[in-house]
Symmetry: C5
Subunit: 76 residues, 5 copies
Amino acid sequence: MLLGQVAGKVWATKKAPHLTGQTFLTVAVGKDLLVCADCVGAGEGETVLVATGSAARVAAGDHVPVDAAIIGIIDP
Amino acid sequence: MLLGQVAGKVWATKKAPHLTGQTFLTVAVGKDLLVCADCVGAGEGETVLVATGSAARVAAGDHVPVDAAIIGIIDP
Amino acid sequence: MLLGQVAGKVWATKKAPHLTGQTFLTVAVGKDLLVCADCVGAGEGETVLVATGSAARVAAGDHVPVDAAIIGIIDP
Amino acid sequence: MLLGQVAGKVWATKKAPHLTGQTFLTVAVGKDLLVCADCVGAGEGETVLVATGSAARVAAGDHVPVDAAIIGIIDP
Amino acid sequence: MLLGQVAGKVWATKKAPHLTGQTFLTVAVGKDLLVCADCVGAGEGETVLVATGSAARVAAGDHVPVDAAIIGIIDP
């Protein structure tokens, strides 16, 4: 998993089915910016644990077409 | 997921079964160019959300051999 | 998916089961060289569409242990 | 798989279901820092074998949303 | 798939279940060193074909938590 910092939020009104209700947060991982499904209710500035690939769907749900999910908030 | 900008379209007359009818858009992600199955009807210049890996098939269909799909259009 | 140019062919007499009969082409993707299962009959110099990861097996067959496959030939 | 050195531990009180009881170690892989589920009881400073992607769940359990796991400790 | 050169061997006495009996070879792929399950009996110095991701388990066995496997030896 990757460690990153929640940077903000993105909105997509037009999206694939099964993404409705999903919150998408941008997470700064090193110099990269990853858009992640939020599975734990993370807030801006928090350090989070990001799972990528098929693991993201284990967290977000099998039918949710995401490849990155926030699966934990690192204790401060 | 990655954020990118739709750059254009590619055509492949000769292709694997199950790709028939699929629209392939090129998406600029940073300095890289990714060819993505379009699952939301995106247009050139729009900022889109791209899912990679097996998540692309959750969006495009289980039997469609793609590894990248546009799953959302970012609200302007 | 990635866009690349077919560069050549590789032969492996000693290989894993389920690879018998599979054609392996080298494809130049930017500065990288990827060995891909050919699912469309591509020829040297052609610009092709390459699917990586589990998508390659959707194209080449579930029991074929490949992680990259040529799934289309880009129209000239 | 990747070879890396166990660097430390991270704690996440708020996390996705199925992560409870899982130990997360940070592993230095070259210049990158990867957070891995520990499946073998590795200790700080040990050289370990890290499996990424869906292989991590084969080691940690199908319903555990992780994308990296320590699957072996390299003999000194 | 990637082309690489077998560089050596690693031993891990303490490892995840289902890894027992598996031979792990280090393979130089460009500037990177990848640890691969050997599925074809490759030897040091040989040029090999490496499959990564879930394809490695198609070659090594579904319950073997590996993400890279040698699936062929390139003909000299």
